[in-house]
C-alpha cells in the first residue's frame, strides 16, 4: 500500500540510510531490519513528523515495532 504517511516515512529512511532502496521500505519490516541504529530511528521519526506536520512526544512511540505500526500511529495523528 502507498499513502502520504508511508511515502513520508520512505523519504526519511532514504535520507537517513542512503544505501537502502525505496522498495525495501515496506510496512512489514522494522527500521532496525533496514540497518537503523537508535539515533537513526529517532531521526526518521522526527523527519517524518516534520514532513507531515505532526508533533508527538517520544513516549508515544513505545509500542512502535515496525514500519506498519509507525505508519498507523502517524495516520491517527495526521491533521
Amino acid at each position: 500500500m502507498s499513502d502520504a504517511v508511508l511515502t513520508a516515512i520512505r523519504s526519511s529512511v532514504l535520507v537517513v540510510l542512503p544505501e537502502i532502496e525505496p522498495e525495501q521500505v515496506t510496512e512489514e519490516v522494522s527500521l532496525t531490519d533496514l540497518g537503523a541504529n537508535s539515533i537513526d530511528r529517532v531521526d526518521v521519526v522526527t523527519m517524518t513528523m516534520d514532513t507531515l506536520g505532526i508533533s508527538l512526544s517520544v513516549t508515544e512511540f513505545t509500542d512502535v515495532h515496525d514500519i506498519g505500526s509507525l505508519a498507523r500511529l502517524l495516520r491517527r495523528h495526521t491533521p
Binding site: 542512503p18 539515533i39 529517532v42 531521526d43 522526527t46 523527519m47 513528523m49 516534520d50 508533533s55 508527538l56
Partner: protein, 419 residues
Amino acid sequence: MSGPWITGAGVLCATAAGVEDFARALRAGTSGIGRRSVDGDHPELRPLLSADLPGFDLSGATADREEPLRRAAARDAGRSPRSVQASVAVALEGWERAGLHRAGVPGERIGIVVAGHNLGGRFAEEVRPRYLSSPVHLPARYPLQFMDTDHVGTVSQLLGLTGEGYTVGGASASGNVALINAARLVESGAADVCLVLGALTDLSDMERQAFYNLGAMAGGQATEPEQAIRPFDAAHGGFVPGQGAACLVLESAASAKRRGAAPWAGLEGYAMRLSGNGLADPSAADEADVMSRALRHAGLVPGRIDYVNAHGTGSPLGDETELTALRALFGHGGPWVNSTKGLIGHCLCAAGVVEAVATVLQMRDGFVHANANLVTPIGTGGRLVGTRSQPAAIGHAMSNGFGFGGFNTSVVLGRPDTF
C-alpha cells in the same frame, strides 16, 4: 631526537585542498581572503572579511581518497556539520598519506586528539530557527552534533580507532595544545600513532560580530580584501578569520620503522605556559619564555632555528608583542619569520595544526612563504620574509600559538636529515 615522527598530513583551507595544493599556494603567496555579504542594518559596522573554504562539500573534499573509506565517509558523515566533515576530509588525507590504510597498525594502538572547542557556532545558529518554530522537530542528531567530541566519535568510527581520544582547547593556541598532548601520548607509549586534528572553527555571524566589536578583527571596509590582513606591517589592523582544518599523523619512530614509513619531519620539542591572565593581553616575557623552553626541550640553542612560523595574526598588540619576544630570544637577524595567517586567515582552533603543516612543507621544499602586505615592517630586527617567497634551507623550525586567556605555546620541528 627522541620525539615522535610526523608520518602524514592533510589540510583544507581557503587556498588549498590537500597538502600538495597547499605547498603550491604557499610558495605562490596565494591569498584566500574575500568579502562576505551580510544582511541587516549597518553593514559598515559588520565584519565583512573572511578566508572561507571555496564551495566545500564532503564528496568533493574526499574525491581523491580511496575506497572503501570514501564511501564510508559519505555514510558516516554525509549529514554532519561542515566542521566535522572538514575533519573527516583532512583525517582521510593524513591517514592515506601516512600509508595507514595499508599498514596493519592495530586500532587500539592509535589515538586521536582534536584541537578545538566551540566549533559549531554557525551550525547552532542554523538549527536555532527550527527550535524556535517547532522544538519537537529538532534534528535527532543535534545532541551528538553540538558537542565538539562529535569530531572524535565520527573520525574514530570511520578509521576504526580504539586507542585514547579526546578534544583539547586553548583558544587560538588549541592546535599546538593538541600537538603537545598527542606527542605525550606517543612518548608515554599510550599510543604508537596519534592523529592530531585541527578542527575547522565554524564561526556564527554573532561570534564574528563579537570579535569585530572588540576591535580584534580587521575591518577592510575601504580596502581590497586581500590587502586588509597585514601581519607585522605598520598598517596592521587586526585578524581576518579563516576556515581551515588540518591533520598531522604523529608516530613513534619504532612504529614507523616497523612498517617502513618515512618521516616528513620530527616533533623535536614543545612547551606550554599560561600567563595567569584571562584577557586578550599577550606578554612578551611569557612568549619568549615558552619559546625558550621549547628550544631547551628540543635540545637546541636559538642559533639552530632557521625559521619561525609566527602566531602573527595581524593584530597590532599581538604582532608587536611577538616580535619583541622573538628579538629577546634570537637577537637581531635570527631566523626567517613569516605568518601563514596573512594568506589563509586565522583558522582559530585549527591554526596551530594548519601552520605546523605549512612549516613541514616549507621545510621539505626549501622555501619560506611571503608575508602578505608587509610594506613597512614594525620595529627593527626579526628577519621578516618580504612579499615574495624565497628559497631557504630549514633544518629546524619553530611554530608559535598564543591564545586569548593567556595560552602560550611553541613547538619545534626538525627536517628528517637533522635527526
